[in-house]
């Protein structure tokens, strides 16, 4: 039979009670600390009360058990009987209170949840507040930096536009409503022929033609802009300047024009070149036409000449028929000369170019013409450069050029005057120039652009063909040279023809 000794139970009772009391106290201590750290957390409060109840219960019960064991074992059972109901009663009370704490657990939980929601809201609000504060702080810090960067950007932009304005090769100007120029760049100032910007400048100084100005202003008012408006400006020195103008109206808030800003491009050079190009084209086409006609006429002329010469033999020299045939022969030859000239002008006739010294050609021509010039009391002056570089050319045709020019000069002077022929080779240039100047009546401005046309002449019928200068032009062109007319010359009267020819580049030159 197994005995059931109670000693292990007694020991377990005493030991267990002690352990439970100690651990209960330790738990209570942790719970207490929790409530101290997070007093707002009701769950810690709940656990703390639970621990307090548990500790009280553990203590009361444990101590009760230990005391009982000792009293009974020491034979004081009667004393225990007296104490026992108290111990039991207290235990009962404490169990009940521990249970009550637990029963109200959900209340604690509700409170906790409610607070948690509030805390959550608060947290969100706080976070937002902190964020805003942070942003504000950041903005404050950056404001200065931003302002600095903006200022820098602005000054870079201002510099850029200022640079563009100042250095533009075209005129850039700003005008107020009264037509006063408020700002204009250096190119504009130079275009108007000033050295420095004048104090007062208005649109009238731009427009030579008042009608143009009115049209410009009208378009600006109507459209708000003007595009590629061609105008003529009068420079400070009175010379003309062709310009292409584009402008925008400056409007105020009400949409009224309060000024304009514009760009003007100097087209003088381009206009000159274009005009030259047009005349060159004209020449070329007329030349072609003339060449065709000349070629066709040449054959019948030859036949007429042949037959008239043949018929002359049939009549005695004194007879009227012979005289008439002589006239036919002369006039036919004159026709042939014209045809030959036409062919020369149109470069249809063959030419042979050789290395030549232009001075020699001039000397040749002068020696032939000098006599007749002297007869008319015209003095010929030679100003020939000593070491004139050689050019490549057809001596026969260049002689004709000079002959034509001197002839024209002779005709323009009539009697008593000077014809100057000078040659020069400006150092560093690739061309030589030859100028024929006379002291004649000059060429009126209105016919200046016509004199190179074939058959243009101011001479009476039978006196001139009007082919002289056009042939000259054709020959010079054929030599890759140029001819420029100046009339009146710097002396105030007379005419100058400036010829230029490219210098022949040979190995010895280099």
């Amino acid at each position: 039979m197994i005995n059931l000794p109670l000693v292990p139970a007694i020991i377990a009772d005493i030991g267990g009670s002690l352990i439970v009391i100690i651990v209960a106290f330790l738990s209570a201590q942790y719970a207490y600390r929790l409530t101290k750290i997070q007093p707002e957390n009701f769950l810690w409060g709940f656990l703390f009360y639970l621990c307090v109840a548990m500790t009280a219960f553990a203590t009361s019960r444990g101590v009760g058990h230990i005391v009982r064991q000792f009293l009974i074992l020491s034979g004081n059972e009667t004393a225990w009987r007296t104490l026992s109901p108290f111990s039991g009663g207290i235990n009962t009370l404490l169990i009940t209170s521990a249970a009550s704490v637990i029963i109200y657990y959900h209340k604690w939980l509700e409170a906790y949840e409610a607070i948690q929601i509030e805390v959550g809201k608060q947290k969100v609000a706080n976070a937002k507040l902190a964020e805003t504060a942070e942003e504000l702080h950041e903005m404050n810090l950056n404001l200065e930096e931003i302002v600095e960067i903006r200022t820098q950007d602005l000054s870079i932009s201002e510099k850029k536009f200022r640079h563009f304005f100042e250095n533009s090769k075209d005129m850039v100007y700003f005008c107020n409503d009264g037509g006063q120029v408020s700002d204009i760049n250096q190119s504009g100032v130079e275009m108007l022929g000033y050295q420095e910007r004048p104090d007062k400048l208005d649109l009238h100084s731009f427009f030579k033609d008042v009608e143009d100005l009115e049209k410009y202003l009208q378009t600006l008012h109507d459209n708000g802009f003007v595009r590629d408006f061609e105008i003529e400006m009068e420079r400070q020195d009175g010379s003309l300047c062709h310009a292409l103008l584009s402008a925008n109206a400056i409007l105020n808030e009400k949409g009224e024009v309060v000024g304009c800003e514009g760009v003007a491009k100097d087209m003088t050079r381009i206009k000159t070149i274009t005009d030259q190009l047009i005349s060159q084209r004209k020449m070329a086409s007329i030349g072609q036409l003339a060449a065709g006609v000349a070629h066709e006429i040449n054959t019948p002329l030859g036949i007429i000449l042949g037959y008239s010469q043949l018929m002359q033999d049939d009549f005695s020299k004194e007879s009227e028929e012979h005289q008439n045939l002589n006239v036919i022969e002369r006039q036919t030859k004159a026709c042939q000369k014209i045809v030959a000239d036409l062919l020369k002008f149109s470069r249809q006739s063959a030419s042979e170019k050789v290395q030549l010294q232009l001075n020699d050609v001039i000397e040749d021509v002068i020696s032939v013409t000098e006599h007749s010039l002297n007869m008319a009391h015209i003095h010929i002056i030679k100003e020939l450069a000593a070491d004139l570089p050689l050019i490549s050319g057809d001596p026969e045709r260049l002689r004709q050029v000079l002959f034509n020019l001197i002839n024209n000069a002779h005709h323009a002077i009539g009697e008593n005057g000077n014809v100057t022929v000078c040659t020069s080779a400006p150092p560093g240039n690739t061309t030589i120039t030859c100028t024929v100047t006379d002291t004649g009546r000059g060429i009126p401005a209105e016919i200046q652009d016509k004199i190179f046309d074939p058959f243009f002449t101011t001479k009476g019928v039978g006196q001139g063909t009007g082919l002289g200068l056009s042939v000259t032009y054709g020959i010079i062109n054929d030599h890759d040279g140029s001819v420029i007319l100046e009339s009146p010359t710097s002396s105030g009267s007379g005419t100058s023809f400036h010829l230029s020819f490219p210098i022949l580049i040979t190995k010895t030159n280099i």
């Binding site: 039979m1 197994i2 005995n3 059931l4 000794p5 109670l6 000693v7 292990p8 139970a9 007694i10 377990a12 009772d13 030991g15 267990g16 009670s17 352990i19 439970v20 651990v23 209960a24 330790l26 738990s27 942790y30 719970a31 600390r33 929790l34 750290i37 997070q38 769950l43 810690w44 656990l47 621990c51 548990m54 553990a58 009974i72 074992l73 034979g75 059972e77 109901p85 039991g88 009663g89 235990n91 009962t92 009370l93 169990i95 009940t96 521990a98 249970a99 009550s100 637990i102 029963i103 657990y105 959900h106 939980l109 906790y112 949840e113 948690q116």
Partner: protein, 155 residues
Amino acid sequence: MRHLNILTFITLFTLVLTGLPSPCHAFQSHPAPEGLYVHQMSHVLFIGALAYLYWHLGKSSLIASRGWHYMRLFCLLFLVWNCLTFAGHASYSYLSVDDFVNMGTWQSKIALPVTPLKLLYYLTRFEHLISVPAIFCLFIGLRLFYREVCAEEEK
């Protein structure tokens, strides 16, 4: 929740009351049995409260911390302990002085023959084998909470 709480309590209470020893078939009659009754009732109340807490902690999502698992374990163990002590008190009330040998000495034993009632009583005397782990669970749980809170506060 609250109704459930009360309901559990009432059910358990009636169950226990019907199973409670009545004076008519007692081996040993206690002079004032209402003290013991009240005590047993308090145990039942405690069991009900712990069961409620155990159940509630199990379903609450608010408390995800590991500490609460120890709290639940504490509830469970303490609930078992309460049942054990309840059984202890009940079984003891059926025993008489004759069932013990050498009472009040270190040699005290339970007299032969060993009946199931005596064995039950004997086992209930080792209730601390449950209460010690239970209180440790409470302790560990709280210590976990404390550490978590400390770590949280440090942040």
